[in-house]
């Protein structure tokens, strides 16, 4: 269902006029209120008056995660703290977290966009939403929660963890929509199976999964094991939280970006050059309606491409393809660039491989070694050792063929690979560099 027909199906020309007006207003505000942006503009001899068209956005320098950290905690806020009603933070794997703030109007905008996203993913006000995103500083839980309420659906704020209890709630409350990370969704399926609960007997129709990259093969597996239609949702706290972009359940082919609030660009991560539609690079966002925490040309580190083709669902909003990796997940192994998502693609191409894997990088002497751990589930298992050995060899050969890097493949028992708050830990880099 299209919740906001006006904006979601607006002719591109009309949309672009609104976007330009909103961009100019945002530039004016950050120039006036955020010393970081004013300084950057001045260093590059730009004033807000230089931004006359959407093309002119290219003149403005990028904002990076480091910039946000340098201004920790509230240095990037564009309104006085009196006007801030909510604070979220994203976990910093290295160093400080990044802190974001919202005004009351920001919270309302976010709820509206999240309601639009849920509707695009198949939810209606009659649905019961089992929200297994973590509640807290992470934006997933509360963002989805407010959107569900805005839509008028019934939301179960179950959050992450205590998985057995979640299965019981699913049985007893009969939720029809599941919101979770895709790896946690698969974990729910595993635990349900152990408990003798079949998703065929549950009432789920749609699942809206995000907060980590996942593949088409993983979608097939989730849809089969959880007996629902699975769509991808995208968002990050620096830009807003979940609800920046959403797949429509009609097409399930790329995520519509809510361009009346966010301007997307794709750049070459090495040179910063803006790439044309269809080319793969780093996704960059400029927010054009946010009050407390606007970002200008924020580098998301997510790798994807943009697709301007019209969609069967009727939305005129541009689509971003599924995120295929992160610029900062890139491992350099013996001089070869390796994205975990590439290894995942290789594994998915081998029939029946469970999508639970982990890359372990070690340095022995001067030589880097890559070990790929693959969990052996029931579909992969054989009572014949040679079948399993052939599988190891086949995976190693395909990795060598597609990525040009030698890897040792090691089959491991299920659940050996750590899952942190529902997110699988995909890379362990033991190199001391």
């Amino acid at each position: 269902m299209i919740l906001d027909i006006g904006f979601e199906t607006m002719p591109r020309e009309d949309l672009e006029a609104i976007v330009l007006r909103r961009l100019k207003a945002t530039i004016d505000r950050v120039y006036a209120n955020v010393p970081f942006y004013r300084k950057k503009f001045e260093e590059n001899h730009i004033t807000p008056n230089d931004i006359k068209s959407l093309e002119d956005l290219k003149q403005i320098p990028f904002t990076t995660k480091e910039d946000l950290r340098d201004n920790y905690p509230f240095g990037m806020f564009a309104v006085p703290m009196d006007n801030v009603v909510r604070i979220h933070a994203s976990s910093g794997t290295t160093g400080k977290p990044t802190v974001v703030g919202y005004t009351a109007r920001d919270i309302n905008t976010w709820a509206e966009l999240m309601a639009r996203a849920l509707a695009a993913g198949g939810a209606t006000r009659g649905d019961i939403i089992h929200n297994a995103y973590g509640y807290g500083l992470f934006t997933g839980g509360l963002g989805t929660h407010y959107g569900a309420e805005k839509l008028g659906a019934s939301v179960i704020p179950v959050s992450g963890g205590n998985t057995k209890r979640q299965i019981i709630i699913m049985k007893d409350f009969g939720p029809t929509i599941l919101t979770a990370t895709p790896s946690y969704a698969l974990y729910l399926a595993e635990v349900a199976e152990e408990m003798g609960v079949s998703f065929k007997d549950l009432k789920f129709k749609f699942g809206i999964f995000g907060a980590e990259p996942w593949s088409e093969k993983m979608r097939e597996e989730i849809e089969r094991k959880l007996n629902l239609t699975a769509v991808d949702i995208y968002g990050l706290s620096e830009v807003m939280g979940p609800g920046v972009a959403i797949e429509c359940h009609e097409a399930k082919k790329g995520l519509h970006i809510f361009e009346d609030h966010f301007i997307p660009e794709i750049i070459n991560p090495a040179t910063g050059e803006v790439l044309p539609y269809g080319e793969t690079g780093e996704l960059v966002f400029t927010t054009i309606t946010k009050e407390a925490f606007p970002v200008i040309r924020y580098r998301t580190r997510d790798i994807t491409s943009l697709n301007p083709e019209p969609c069967i669902c009727g939305r005129t909003l541009i689509r971003m393809n599924k995120v295929s990796g992160r610029t900062d997940d890139m491992l350099i192994i013996r001089g070869v660039n390796v994205f975990p998502s590439q290894i995942e693609s290789v594994l998915m191409e081998i029939d029946e491989v469970e999508p639970h894997y982990q890359l372990v990088v070690d340095r022995k002497g001067k030589l880097d070694t890559l070990t790929v751990l693959v969990e052996v589930g029931e579909r992969l298992f054989s009572d014949e050792v040679k079948v399993l050995q052939n599988l190891e060899r086949k995976i190693a050969k395909n990795i060598k063929d597609y990525l040009g890097v030698s890897a040792k493949v090691k089959l491991v028992e299920p659940k050996v690979i750590a899952r942190s708050q529902g997110k699988a830990v995909r890379v362990i880099d033991n190199r001391k560099i």
Binding site: V376, E378, F381, S382, D383, E384, V385, Q389, L411, V412
Partner: protein
């Protein structure tokens, strides 16, 4: 005449085999025969037990990957050349033995061996035609 065997995936780590034995003991399952085939990284543990359902449930509950395979239990004369005779019969018919292992118990003066053979039904017929005693599953589980 098939016998159900349970196979368990094990990482090659100290204590994993003992853990499987402990889980089965706790579930009140008796192990009738057992063989471990391993590589430097992992192993496949093959088991004949008195209660397959109970054993599988107990192992799955503890997170092990488990599968069931049909195998053949046959009596082997406990004298030189006893095993060779069986392998010869199968070999001449072009039937491949993937693996085999011995049963602890004997029947009278004969040893019992487990064979993983494909195609299984053809192999059973062939063995019986050659007067080799093939033992039924229900008897094997109770041995």
């Amino acid at each position: 005449m098939h016998v159900e065997q349970i196979s368990v995936f094990l990482e090659n780590k100290a204590g994993r085999l003992a853990e499987v034995a402990a889980i089965l003991a706790e579930a009140d399952v008796n192990i009738r025969a057992l063989a471990l085939a391993d590589t430097s990284d992992f192993g496949v543990l093959r088991l004949i037990v008195n209660d397959n359902q109970k054993a599988i449930q107990a192992l799955k509950n503890r997170g092990f990957t488990v599968s069931k395979t049909d195998v053949v239990a046959a009596e082997v004369e406990d004298r030189p050349g006893g095993l060779n005779r069986i392998l010869d019969i199968l070999n001449r018919a072009g039937i491949n033995v993937e693996y085999m292992y011995a049963f602890v118990q004997h029947t009278g003066k004969n040893a019992v061996m487990i064979f993983r053979i494909d195609p299984i039904d053809e192999a059973i017929k062939l063995l019986q035609k050659n007067n080799i005693t093939v033992i039924e599953g229900s008897k094997v589980y109770a041995m």
